[in-house]
C-alpha cells in the first residue's frame, strides 16, 4: 500500500472507517461542548456528519451512527448553545425546500423561479388561522381565532394540500411554455404572491400587509405530562427549539422517503425522460402535462408543509421572508448539490444555510470585534473600515458565485445524481 493511499483507506475500508468516523464525531462533539461559542468547532461537527455519509462504514452501522448523531448528539449540543439548534432547524427547513425544488428542477427539468411562493402560501395558511388574524375578516365579534394548538397537525396536512393545489393552479396555464418562459412566468407568479401578501390588508385584511402576522400558535406540548412523569421539568423556552428540531427532522425524513420512492418508480423515470427529451417521452406514452403537474404539485407540497412549520416556529411572519432572493437561494442549493440528486440537495441546503447563518454572520461579528479593537492589518487600521461593509449582507453574492461557478465548472454538482439506482441483474 502506498503512503498516498493511506488517508483514503482510513475512511474507505469499513473497519478503519468506522473507527475514524466515530473518533471524529466524538472529538468534534467534545470540542463543541467545550467551546460552545466556537463556530469552527460546530462546523467540525457538521463536517463529521458529512464524513460519515461519504465514508465506507457498513450501512447498518452508518444508520446507527446517523441516528445517534442527529437524534442525540445534535440536540444535546443544541441545548448547550441554542444558536446551533436554530441553525439545525433552518438547515432542515431548507433541506426540505431544496428536495422539493429538486423534483421540479432536477428531475423534471422545469426551472421554477417562484418556488418560495408555495412556502409563503403554506406559511400564511397557518399564520392566518393560527393567530387572531382570521377574526379580522371572518368574525369580528366572536373571536374564534386563533385555532387551538392541536389544529397545527391538521394544518400540516392542509399545508401539503394547499401547496399541491397552488402548484397545480400555477402549473395548468404555464406548463406548455418553453423552458425559459416558464422560468420567467414562475418568477412573476412568485412576485405576485409576495405583492399580494404585502397589500391584502385592504379592502379586507387577509394578510395584515407589511406589518405581518403575530402571534402565531405553536404546536401543543402534548408530551409534557410524559416528561413530568419522568421527572423532567422543562420550560417551553427550552422545549420548543428541541420540539421543532425533531419535528423538522421527522418531516425531512418523510420528504426524503417520498422523494426516493418517487424517483425509483415509473413516475421518476417519466420525469427523467421528460428532462431528457420531451417529444420522445410523450411519443413513448408519457402524459406530459399530467407528469409535469405532478412534479409541480409534489415540489409545492413539500414547500407548503414547511411553510406551516416555519410560521409556527417564527411566531411572526411577514412578506419579507418570501422574496425572489429566497427562491434563488433554494435554487443555488439544488445546483450546488447536483440537480436530480437527493444527497446533493441535502448537502447543498446544508452548506448554503450554514454559509449564510454561520460563516457570513460570524465573519461580520469577528470583523466588528477587530474593528472595535482597532486592529491593524498590513498597515491598514480596521477601524477605518466603512461601517456599511457587513459580510452578513452578502447572501446574493454567495448565491451568484455558486450558480455561475457551478454551471460552468461542475454542472453535475458536488454529489452528482447517482444514475442507475437500480440495475438490472441479468440472469
Amino acid at each position: 500500500m502506498s503512503a498516498r493511499a493511506f488517508p483514503a483507506t482510513l475512511i474507505q475500508r469499513p473497519v478503519p472507517a468506522a473507527i475514524t468516523v466515530m473518533a471524529v464525531i466524538a472529538l468534534s462533539s467534545y470540542s463543541v461542548a467545550h467551546f460552545p461559542r466556537s463556530i469552527v468547532a460546530f462546523m467540525l461537527f457538521q463536517a463529521s456528519i458529512l464524513l460519515l455519509y461519504f465514508s465506507g462504514v457498513t450501512p447498518w452501522l452508518k444508520a446507527i451512527l446517523a441516528v445517534l448523531t442527529l437524534g442525540l448528539l445534535m440536540p444535546i449540543l443544541g441545548t448547550i448553545n441554542g444558536f446551533y439548534l436554530e441553525v439545525a432547524i433552518q438547515v432542515g427547513i431548507f433541506v426540505a425546500l431544496a428536495l422539493g425544488l429538486n423534483i421540479v428542477v432536477g428531475l423534471a427539468g422545469l426551472l421554477d423561479l417562484g418556488y418560495v411562493a408555495f412556502y409563503a402560501v403554506g406559511a400564511y395558511t397557518w399564520a392566518i388561522f393560527g393567530s387572531p388574524q382570521a377574526n379580522r375578516f371572518i368574525s369580528e365579534t366572536t373571536a374564534q381565532f386563533p385555532l387551538p394548538p392541536e389544529w397545527f397537525f391538521v394544518f400540516l396536512l392542509l399545508g401539503v394540500l394547499t401547496g399541491a393545489m397552488t402548484g397545480i393552479l400555477l402549473g395548468i396555464p404555464v406548463l406548455r411554455l418553453r423552458g425559459d418562459y416558464l422560468a420567467i412566468v414562475t418568477l412573476g407568479f412568485g412576485e405576485v404572491i409576495r405583492v399580494l401578501a404585502n397589500n391584502l390588508d385592504k379592502p379586507i385584511n387577509l394578510t395584515n400587509g407589511p406589518k405581518g402576522i403575530t402571534p402565531i400558535q405553536r404546536p401543543p406540548l402534548f408530551f409534557r405530562p410524559v416528561l413530568n412523569l419522568m421527572g423532567i421539568e422543562a420550560s417551553p423556552v427550552t422545549l420548543y427549539p428541541l420540539y421543532f428540531y425533531f419535528l423538522v427532522l421527522f418531516i425531512v425524513g418523510v420528504v426524503i422517503l417520498v422523494n426516493r420512492r418517487l424517483e425509483n418508480s415509473h413516475i421518476g423515470r417519466a420525469w427523467e425522460a421528460i428532462r431528457e427529451d420531451e417529444v420522445a417521452a410523450q411519443a413513448m406514452g408519457v402524459p406530459l402535462v399530467r407528469m409535469k403537474l405532478l412534479a409541480f404539485a409534489c415540489g409545492a407540497s413539500f414547500a407548503g408543509v414547511m411553510g406551516i412549520v416555519f410560521s409556527a416556529k417564527q411566531v411572526f411572519i411577514n412578506p419579507e421572508s418570501f422574496t425572489f432572493l429566497e427562491s434563488i437561494g433554494v435554487l443555488s442549493m439544488v445546483i450546488l448539490g447536483g440537480m436530480g440528486s437527493i444527497p446533493g440537495a441535502i448537502l447543498g441546503a446544508s452548506v448554503v444555510t450554514i454559509l449564510n447563518l454561520q460563516v457570513l454572520k460570524g465573519l461580520s461579528l469577528w470583523l466588528n470585534e477587530l474593528r472595535n479593537a482597532g486592529v491593524t492589518i498590513l498597515g491598514y487600521n480596521l477601524a477605518d473600515l466603512p461601517s456599511q461593509f457587513e459580510p452578513a449582507k452578502y447572501e446574493r453574492m454567495i448565491f451568484g458565485i455558486i450558480l455561475v461557478l457551478m454551471v460552468i465548472l461542475r454542472p453535475q454538482g458536488i454529489i452528482p445524481s447517482r444514475r442507475r439506482t437500480r440495475e438490472l441483474r441479468e440472469k
Binding site: 420512492r261 425522460a273 417529444v279 420522445a280 410523450q282 411519443a283 413513448m284 406530459l288 440495475e423 441479468e426
Partner: protein, 265 residues
C-alpha cells in the same frame, strides 16, 4: 374487415410549403407496409401526423375505426401506436433498461398511492416491468447491455434499443422511421428477421419508412411511394418497382440527398 389504419386525404402545410397533399393510406392488421420516396417527400411528416405530434390541415386519420386527430401523442401511444425516430431520440443519459421502462409507462397500472406506499401491488408490478424489459432487451439482442447508458451504445445498438423501447408500449401498430439507417447489410437483415418474427408471434402491424431498397423489397407486403408530398404509386413491391413515375422520381431527377424538406428541419 376494416383496415387497422386509415389515412384519408391528409394535407399538411408548413408556411408556403405543402409537405403532404391529400395522402391516402390503408393498412391491414398483421402486415408490413413501407413508405418510400426521396428526401423531403413528406414521409416523416406523415409519421408525425399519425402520432399526434402535429395536426394536419385537412383529412382524417383513424386507427381501429376511431379518429386519432386531436389526441396527444401519449394518448395515441396508449391506443397502441408507437414509433421510432429517424434521428435516434433515446433518453441519452438513462440506461438501456430504463429507456425500455419509460416505454412501458402507458401500461403501468400503478397510481401515486402505490408508489408512495410501496404496497405488494407495486412490488409485483415493478418486478413484472423489469422482467418484461429484460425480455425485450433479449428480443432485440441487447442482452448484457441493460445497464449501459444509452448514449454509450454503438449506433446499431441504439437503433435496436429504439425499436425495443417502442415495443415496450405493447403497440398494435409499430411505426419505424428508417430503422436500418447506418446499419450494415447484415445488421439490417437481422433486424428485418426480427420484425417478421414479431409479426408472426405477436400479431404486430408495421409501417416502415426505409431507404434501403433491398430491405423494402424483401419484407414489405405493400409499398407506398411519396414524392413532393403526393402519393405517386402504391402496390406490391414488384409492381411499384416497375412503375415509371417511381423510376422517374428516383432516377430521372436524381434528387437523392438534396433539398431536405421540413422533416429534417
Amino acid at each position: 374487415m376494416a383496415a387497422l389504419l386509415e389515412v384519408r386525404r391528409v394535407t399538411k402545410r408548413f408556411g408556403g410549403l405543402t409537405a403532404l397533399s391529400r395522402v391516402e393510406l390503408e393498412l391491414e392488421e398483421g402486415r408490413i407496409a413501407s413508405i418510400i420516396g426521396p428526401n423531403g417527400a413528406g414521409k416523416t411528416t406523415l409519421f408525425n401526423i399519425l402520432t399526434g405530434i402535429y395536426p394536419p390541415e385537412a383529412g382524417t386519420v383513424s386507427f381501429r375505426g376511431r379518429s386519432v386527430l386531436g389526441l396527444t401523442p401519449d394518448q395515441i401511444t396508449a391506443l397502441g401506436v408507437c414509433r421510432t425516430f429517424q434521428n435516434i431520440r433515446l433518453f441519452a443519459n438513462m440506461t438501456a433498461v430504463e429507456n425500455i421502462l419509460v416505454g412501458m409507462h402507458s401500461r403501468v397500472p400503478l397510481g401515486l398511492w402505490h408508489v408512495l406506499s410501496r404496497d405488494p401491488k407495486f412490488h409485483r408490478e415493478e418486478s413484472r416491468l423489469w422482467d418484461r424489459a429484460a425480455e425485450l432487451l433479449d428480443v432485440v439482442g441487447l442482452r448484457g447491455k441493460a445497464n449501459e447508458l444509452a448514449r454509450n451504445l454503438p449506433y446499431g445498438d441504439q437503433r435496436r434499443l429504439e425499436v425495443a423501447r417502442a415495443l415496450a408500449s405493447a403497440p398494435t401498430l409499430l411505426l419505424l422511421d428508417e430503422p436500418t439507417a447506418g446499419m450494415t447489410q447484415g445488421e439490417a437483415r437481422g433486424l428485418m428477421a426480427l420484425l417478421r418474427r414479431l409479426i408472426a408471434e405477436h400479431g404486430l402491424t408495421i409501417l416502415l419508412i426505409e431507404h434501403n431498397m433491398r430491405v423494402v423489397m424483401e419484407v414489405s407486403d405493400r409499398v407506398t411511394v411519396l414524392d413532393y408530398g403526393e402519393k405517386i404509386a402504391e402496390g406490391h413491391p414488384t409492381e411499384v418497382q416497375k412503375n415509371p413515375r417511381v423510376v422517374e422520381a428516383y432516377l430521372g431527377r436524381k434528387k437523392w440527398g438534396q433539398a431536405p424538406g421540413p422533416e429534417h428541419a
